[in-house]
Structure formats: structure tokens, C-alpha cells
């Protein structure tokens, strides 16, 4: 609060013609609670730029993520409480967002390339072929849709599929010694081993080399300022997964699974890996959940039902989304038009957009809880 407005408060308001005061506006807005942070939006410091002109009031509500799933609901609540102020004719509520960053020790950015990255999301599964890369791409696009600055790192060294899925054909550029400039796909910064080799050439690398490639992606790519860096993990719980977790302060993980039990067995292993590495699991995305045919509107559960939900329940994390089968998702992947961008209103896109919102919400909660935790630190010993 500026000096001017605090003085105004003490004098009992700005003395506008309608008699509406800033204190009244705040008092009204204090009735609106953030459902996740369990505090009112005034106490949380979300309310900004209160302007009172006669009987018209405009305010800005600054949330912790542009992908907030309850944004519209909060806006409606704000408008409703403002309208209860006597003498008020018009209330304009603008919703904005500043993504909260995971806590870091200021004097020691251990990985400078990631210093401007506010949140790192791991998209992982224990098993291949569950739609992990498809989910990573669509989550990245869903986050970018809300105005967030997003990066996408393809950590699958041996089967890089991201370049094709986002239609990037050019090779990555060098921006100087040890600086890689990531190409853009619809505004998203993307990096993949696929940008360093021809698509038909196999990447043949031994474990330590593969790890050092991923390390370079994390430490030498010019990521700049990002709200979210989505990392598409290779399947399994091996070297690369460990390298990422040791190099970057991963903020949270999204686990992808299909509804079947066999897939769940491997996913449980991935979950336990993240538990060991102390990366909080944000939630589970179940792919290939059901198929709605064009003849009837029935949900056909081809690969059994409820796997993602069961996994989420037994591990105490939330089910971020159940993504229906839509042949257009696969076509979009092959043609480099992610489903969320090509058909934003389709059920699978809506499910991804909701899942991205729920993941962003979990990150906001996590970052709010994590105050006082050092994510990265370096201590020089003195003799």
C-alpha cells in the first residue's frame, strides 16, 4: 500500500462524492476466500489498484497463477461482494496473475541458466507408451494459453518425439560458447535431442553421455524468464531421471498413467522415486480413460476404469485429469498441432486445460507452504 492510500485510509476514505471509501472496498473483498490458501484475498495481498470514481469502483485481483482454475468463480464473488456496498453502481474486477516462484537462496543460484525459471514441472511415468509426451506437450500448451511463459524440455534422449509434436524442424542454434538458444513453438521455448540430429538417425549414447546431454539442457540453454518449465521425462526410473533431479530444483511432478493395473505397477515405482528425491507429486493424469463414440454419448472404458483414481487415492495425491481417447489427439501429435491448440473445445483439450490449472494450483499451494525452505544452496567453508 502506498503512502498516499494509507493516509487516505486513516482519514476515513478519499471523500469521493458517493462516499464509498477504499476501506469499505477492502472490507467487502475480505469476505472472498482463496479456496486453496484458506485466507481472504485482501490478507493475501491479491487486491491492487483500487480506483473509486463516484459510484464506480474498479479493482485488480492479482492471483498466484494465470492458470488458476477458480479464476472466474473468484471474479464473480468479488463482483457480488462489491455490489453489496451501499451506493455502488458499477464494479469492475480485473483478474491478473504473478506466478509465485519456488523459494531459492538468493546468493547461490547453483544453476544460473535456471535462475529465471519460477517452477519446474516433471512429467513422468514408470512406463512407456502411456501418452507421457503427449501429456507434457498439451500441458505446456494449456499453461501457455493462460498467458504464462512456458518452456518444454524433452529429456527422452533415445526417443525424442517433442520436435515432431510441436512442428519444429530446425536445429538448435548456438548463441555463443556454451549457450544454446531454444527454438520457439507457438511462443514456447523447446529443447530436445531431436534438434541436434536428423530425425532418422538414432541417438546412440552410453549412460554417462546421455546424462551429460540432459545436464547441458538444464545448464546451458538460455531459458530466460519462465513461469513454468515442463520436463518430459523418459520412461522408467534410471540414470536420466536421477541426473535431472540432481541438477535442477524440480518443483513438482505430474505422473501419467493409463487405467490398467500393469501400468500402475511401474507408476508406483516412479512415485516412490520422487518420494526418495523429495520432489512433491502434484497429481496424476490418467490417459486413454474412455472413448465417446460419435453414435451414442456413452463413455466406453476400453482399458478398464479408475486406475488413475485408485493410484491417486492410495498415495494421497489428487487426480488432475482423466483424458478421453480422441483419435485427433494422435493425429495432432503426428502433424505437430497439439490437441489443445488445434481443438481447444474438444473434451480431451478441456481435460488437459483443467489438469494444467489443477497442477498450477498445487504449485501455488506448495510455494506458499515452502516459504523458509532453501531449494538451492552453496556454502563456502572458511578455514
Amino acid at each position: 500500500m502506498g503512502l498516499f492510500s494509507s493516509v487516505k485510509d486513516k482519514l476515513g476514505g478519499g471523500g469521493t462524492r458517493s462516499g464509498i471509501t477504499e476501506a469499505q472496498v477492502k472490507e467487502a473483498l475480505a469476505k472472498v476466500q482463496d479456496p486453496d490458501l484458506h485466507q481472504d484475498i485482501v490478507a493475501l495481498g491479491f487486491v491492487r489498484n483500487i480506483v473509486i470514481k463516484g459510484d464506480k469502483v474498479s479493482v485488480e485481483v492479482n492471483l498466484t497463477t494465470p492458470a488458476c482454475p477458480v479464476k472466474e468463480q473468484l471474479k464473480a464473488q468479488c463482483e457480488a461482494v462489491l455490489k453489496e456496498i451501499p451506493g455502488l453502481a458499477q464494479a469492475d474486477v480485473t483478474m491478473t496473475a504473478t506466478t509465485r516462484a519456488a523459494q531459492r537462496d538468493n546468493n547461490a543460484a547453483v544453476v544460473p541458466a535456471l535462475a529465471g525459471v519460477k517452477n519446474i514441472i516433471a512429467v513422468a511415468s514408470g512406463k512407456g507408451g502411456v501418452g507421457k509426451s503427449t501429456s507434457a506437450v498439451n500441458l505446456a500448451y494449456a499453461l501457455a494459453r493462460t498467458g504464462s511463459k512456458v518452456g518444454l524440455l524433452d529429456a527422452d534422449v533415445y526417443g525424442p518425439s517433442i520436435p515432431r509434436m510441436v512442428r519444429i524442424t530446425q536445429l538448435a542454434e548456438e548463441g555463443g560458447p556454451n549457450v544454446i538458444i531454444p527454438p520457439l513453438a507457438d511462443g514456447i521455448k523447446v529443447i530436445s535431442v531431436g534438434m541436434f540430429t536428423q530425425a532418422s538417425d538414432a541417438t546412440i549414447l552410453r549412460g554417462p553421455m546421455a546424462g551429460s546431454v540432459i545436464k547441458q539442457f538444464l545448464t546451458q540453454v538460455q531459458w530466460g524468464e519462465l513461469d513454468y518449465l515442463v520436463i518430459d521425462y523418459p520412461p522408467g526410473t534410471g540414470d536420466i531421471q536421477l541426473t535431472i533431479s540432481q541438477t535442477a530444483p524440480v518443483t513438482g511432478a505430474v505422473i501419467v498413467t493409463t487405467p490398467q493395473e500393469v501400468s500402475l505397477i511401474d507408476v508406483r515405482k516412479a512415485m516412490s522415486m520422487f518420494k526418495t528425491l523429495k520432489v512433491p507429486v502434484l497429481g496424476v493424469i490418467e490417459t486413454m480413460s474412455y472413448f465417446v463414440c460419435d453414435g451414442c454419448d456413452k463413455k466406453h472404458q476400453i482399458f478398464r476404469s479408475g486406475g488413475g483414481e485408485r493410484l491417486a487415492r492410495e498415495s494421497g495425491v489428487s487426480l488432475l485429469g482423466a483424458i478421453p481417447i480422441d483419435p485427433r489427439v494422435a493425429v495432432g501429435g503426428d502433424e505437430g498441432r497439439p490437441h489443445v491448440a488445434a481443438f481447444p473445445d474438444a473434451p480431451a483439450s478441456q481435460a488437459y486445460i483443467a489438469a494444467a490449472g489443477a497442477a498450477a494450483q498445487q504449485l501455488s499451494i506448495l510455494n506458499a507452504q515452502a516459504s523458509g525452505i532453501l531449494n538451492q544452496f552453496a556454502l563456502e567453508w572458511k578455514n
Partner: protein
């Protein structure tokens, strides 16, 4: 909504003496470690046999004069200590440090 946060993390880390490392954990608990003892308990694969878990490092081979040069975080779950004898491969997980004798 619950998150998997049985996660004990570091809130503060500092040098508390010539050979003492002090860590304040996110649950408020405070620990002090003798850095020479940490070096003698290095958990890396060349100090501890990966299959038998037997200690290969002879603690008496580590002189009392060994000191850290630098201590840094490893991801969100451990720390790495660069020692003055050139050894830096040990990854000390928070879990291990919390249970450290």
C-alpha cells in the same frame, strides 16, 4: 488437498565452527555435524560397497585435518560436500543426515 509432503528439507545451513556444520530443518529441528565424521561416513560407491554395503573406506585413513571446501545442494533431497582431500562423490541425503549418529 494433501500433497506428499513428508518432505523434510533444509531451512538454514551454516558453518558453526572450524569443523562443525549446522543445519536447521524445515520442521524446526536443528542438527550439528562434525565434518570429519561426515567424511569418514561418506556414502559413495567407492567408500561403501554397493552390493554388500560393507565399508571399504578405512576411517583411520581420513586425517583429522580434512575440511569441506564447499557444500552444495543436490536437487531437493541431498547435499554434496567437496572435501579438501579431493573427495566429492558422496551424496548425503537429508534422510541419512537426519538419522546420522
Amino acid at each position: 488437498m494433501s500433497l506428499a509432503t513428508d518432505n523434510i528439507r533444509v531451512s538454514a545451513i551454516e558453518q558453526a565452527g572450524p569443523r562443525t556444520l549446522a543445519i536447521t530443518w524445515s520442521d524446526g529441528h536443528k542438527d550439528q555435524f562434525d565434518v570429519v565424521k561426515l567424511r569418514r561416513s561418506c556414502p559413495c560407491a567407492s567408500c561403501i560397497d554397493e552390493w554388500t554395503r560393507e565399508q571399504r573406506l578405512k576411517p583411520e585413513d581420513v586425517p583429522d585435518t580434512v575440511r569441506p571446501l564447499k557444500i552444495e545442494s543436490v536437487g531437493a533431497y541431498a547435499l554434496k560436500i567437496h572435501f579438501s582431500d579431493g573427495h566429492a562423490t558422496g551424496i548425503y541425503t537429508f534422510q541419512m543426515l537426519r538419522a546420522f549418529p
